[in-house]
Amino acid sequence: MNAEQRRVPAEKAFEELAKLKGEGYNVLVDMTAVDYSAWGKAPKGDVSDAFKRAHPMECADLTHSIAGATGEEYGTPHLPGRPTLDEPRPAAPVSTRFDVVYRLMKLDLQSGEDLGRVYLHCDVPEGAPVLRSVKSLWPIADWLEREVWDMFGIGFVDRPDIKRLLLYEEFQGHPLRKDYPITKRQPLIGPKEGEPPGNPSFNHVEQPVKYE
C-alpha cells in the first residue's frame, strides 16, 4: 500500500485537502488522531531495567527522511526499499499534542484501481479548535470528525455544536486522550429529581390520548 506522506500545519489543512480533492482524491478512507502527550513515557508497571535492555530492533539505526518523501510507511532499515517517511516523534514534550491523520485515496471508478494514496498529517494543539471541517468535500467526514471530537476532544472551527458519535452526550471527558485513565468511572445518568415525567430519559408509558 504505497502512500505519500505529507505534513501540513492545521490552519492550512483544509486548503491542502481541497486541493487534493481537486486532484482527484475522491475517497477519504479514514481520518483519525493520535495523542502524543504520553510519548516516551514509560507504561504503567514499568521495570526500569526493561527499558535499559537493548533490543536488536531498537539498536537499529533508523534512517529518517524528511516529511513529504514518497514510498511506503515507516519501515525498518534491514528491509531495503522501505524508507522511513517521517521521523519518529521526539520524546515528550512535542510541539503539539495531537496528530490528526487524513487518509485519501484516488479511486478509479471504472477499473477499481487504487491510483495512489496520500496520508496527510496535521499538528493540532490542544485548546481552541483550529481545523476546519471537510464534510463539504467528503460527506463521510461528518461522522469521522464526530468520532475524533468524541474520542479526543479535537474541535472544528466551523462545527461549534458538534455531537459525539459513539458515546452519549453526558459522558465526561474524551477517552482516547492519554490522560484519561482506563479505570475511570462515569457518573450514572438518568432523570434528575424534579424532572417532568414526559422527559425522554424517563422510562414511562405514555397515557392514551383522546382524539377529538
Binding site: N26, V29, V34, K44, R103, L166
Partner: protein
C-alpha cells in the same frame, strides 16, 4: 412538525424512532426517522450502543493480547480481523511470516468471509420473511464453524493469529473435510439461489431499493460488496495484494445498479470465489510436517517426568505428543507456520519445559514490559474484510504494547450513507437496505 407547501396543502411529518429495540435493527442501532405517511423525509442513525473501548483497551496490553479483542470487532468473520491486526504489526516490525503460515491465514480468512456472507444473506432474507433460506444458510455456516473450531478451538472467538505467524497447524485430514463441507455449502447456496434469486416477493423488496451511485459511494468511502454492487471492482485483495493473494486466481464480482438486489448477487458470487481461493490454497500450500514417527514422540507427561528426573540431555531428541492445533506446541512443525525469532514469538512448549534457554525465553515474552517490542513508528495496513477495507492504523513507541491502535471499520461508511440512501423510500425499504449494509455492531462501535 408541519409546514405549508406551495399549493397550500398542509404537510404533516412526524418523528419515529426505529430501534434500538427493533428486531431488524439487531438491537444496537437507532434510526431517527422523519416520516410523511410511510415515506422517509430524513433519517439519522445513532450508533454506539455496543461501544466497548477496543482502541483504549488495546493501548494497555501487550501486542499479542490485543488479538483476542480483534475477534470481537466483526464477530461474524473474526479470522480476518486477527490476520489484519497481525499483518499491521508485522509490517511495522518488518517481519515476514513463513509461507505455510501465510497460506493458513488465507485459508482461515476466506472461510471467515464465507461465514460472513452466509450470515448476511441469510439474515436479510429472514428479515424479508424467507425463513427457510435463513435455516439453510445458517446450517451451512455451522459446517464451516465446525471447520474453524477444528483449527482454532473456537467457533467465533478464534484468536488464531500471533505476531509472527499463527497459533497452530491444520488438523489432519483438514483439506478433505473442507472439500466435503464445501459440497454441502454449495448445495445450500444453490437451494437458496433457487428460492430467492427469481422470487417475485424477494425481488420486489430488493430491486431498486437502497440505490447508491458510484460517485456517492466513493464520497462516503464505501468499500467491499457495497461498493462493488455499484460497478466499481475495488477489492483490497486485488488492489493491494497482501498475504499470497497474488498467487491465487479469483474474480471480483461487480453489480451495475447499486441496489439491494445487486449487493445480494455480489455476495452470492463472492461466496463461490472465496471457496475457490481456499481450494487453490490447499493445492499450493507447502507441505507441513504433520506427524512424526511414533518412536520419536512421547506422551507429554512422560516428557515432563524425564525433565523432572534430570534426563534433560535426552529431551532434545524427543517431541511431546500433543495435538498440532494447540498453541505453542510442537517443535517439529512450528517453523513452517510461525516465525522463529525469539524476539517476537514464544518458544515451543518442548523447549519451555525442556531446557533453560526456552524457559527464560518464554518468561521474557510474557513478562510485563519485557514482551515483544515493535520498533517505534506508525503504520496503516488494510485487508479485505467481509464488508470492505478493514484497516489498522498502529502507532508504536517501542514499548511492549501499542501506543495507539485505530481500526477502520468498513461498515461505518455505509451506515453513515444511510442518511443519503433512505430518504425518499418507504419504511419497509429500510429492512432490506439495512440488511445489505451488513452492519456488525462489534465493528461499527468498537
Amino acid at each position: 412538525m408541519s409546514e405549508t407547501t406551495e399549493t397550500g396543502r398542509r404537510r404533516k411529518s412526524y418523528l419515529l424512532n426505529m430501534g434500538p429495540q427493533h428486531p431488524a435493527m439487531h438491537g444496537v442501532i437507532r434510526l431517527v426517522l422523519e416520516l410523511e405517511g410511510e415515506r422517509i423525509l430524513k433519517s439519522d442513525a445513532e450508533i454506539g450502543y455496543l461501544h466497548r473501548a477496543f482502541e483504549k483497551h488495546a493501548e494497555t496490553e501487550p501486542w499479542n493480547n490485543v488479538v483476542p479483542w480483534t475477534d470481537r470487532l466483526n464477530y461474524v468473520s473474526p479470522l480476518i480481523n486477527n490476520a489484519g491486526f497481525c499483518l499491521a504489526v508485522e509490517k511495522l516490525a518488518g517481519i515476514v511470516v513463513p509461507e505455510r503460515g501465510q497460506y493458513l491465514r488465507m485459508i482461515t480468512s476466506e472461510l471467515s468471509r464465507v461465514t460472513d456472507h452466509l450470515t448476511c444473506i441469510g439474515a436479510s432474507a429472514m428479515e424479508l420473511g424467507a425463513f427457510t433460506v435463513f435455516l439453510y444458510l445458517i446450517k451451512a455456516r455451522e459446517y464451516i464453524y465446525q471447520l474453524v473450531d477444528n483449527i482454532t478451538g473456537a467457533r467465533i472467538t478464534t484468536s488464531y493469529t500471533r505476531v509472527g505467524g499463527v497459533k497452530g497447524d491444520l488438523p489432519e485430514g483438514f483439506a478433505e473435510r473442507t472439500r466435503e463441507v464445501f459440497q454441502k455449502v454449495r448445495q445450500a447456496i444453490k437451494d437458496s439461489d433457487l428460492l430467492l434469486t427469481k422470487n417475485r416477493i424477494f425481488m420486489d423488496r430488493m430491486e431498486g431499493t437502497g440505490v447508491i451511485s458510484k460517485e456517492e459511494a466513493a464520497a462516503y468511502g464505501i468499500t467491499g460488496p457495497f461498493l462493488r454492487s455499484t460497478g466499481v471492482p475495488y477489492d483490497v485483495r486485488r488492489a493491494h495484494p497482501y498475504l499470497l493473494y497474488d498467487r491465487v486466481d479469483f474474480e471480483v464480482p461487480v453489480g451495475t445498479t447499486g441496489d439491494n438486489f445487486d449487493r445480494y448477487l455480489c455476495r452470492m458470487a463472492e461466496l463461490e470465489q472465496s471457496m475457490r481461493i481456499v481450494e487453490q490454497c490447499f493445492d499450493q500450500i507447502p507441505a507441513g510436517k504433520h506427524s512424526l514417527e511414533v518412536s520419536e514422540m512421547k506422551d507429554a507427561f512422560v516428557f515432563q517426568d524425564m525433565g523432572k528426573g534430570g534426563q534433560t540431555a535426552l529431551l532434545k531428541k524427543y517431541m511431546a505428543k500433543v495435538d498440532q492445533t494447540l498453541a505453542e506446541s510442537g517443535r517439529n512443525y512450528r517453523p513452517d507456520i510461525l516465525l522463529q525469532n525469539p524476539s517476537f514469538v514464544m518458544p515451543a512448549k518442548e523447549d519451555t519445559y525442556g531446557n533453560i534457554e526456552g524457559l527464560m525465553n518464554h518468561f521474557e515474552t510474557v513478562m510485563w514490559t519485557w514482551g515483544i517490542k515493535i520498533p517505534p513508528g506508525e503504520v496503516y495496513s488494510a485487508v479485505e474484510g467481509g464488508n470492505g477495507e478493514l484497516g489498522f492504523h498502529i502507532v508504536s513507541s517501542g514499548d511492549d504494547r501499542p501506543y495507539r491502535v485505530r481500526c477502520r471499520p468498513p461498515c461505518l461508511n455505509p451506515m453513515a450513507a444511510l442518511e443519503k440512501i433512505l430518504p425518499g423510500s418507504y419504511v419497509a425499504d429500510i429492512v432490506p437496505t439495512f440488511g445489505s449494509v451488513n452492519m456488525i455492531a462489534g465493528e461499527l462501535d468498537r
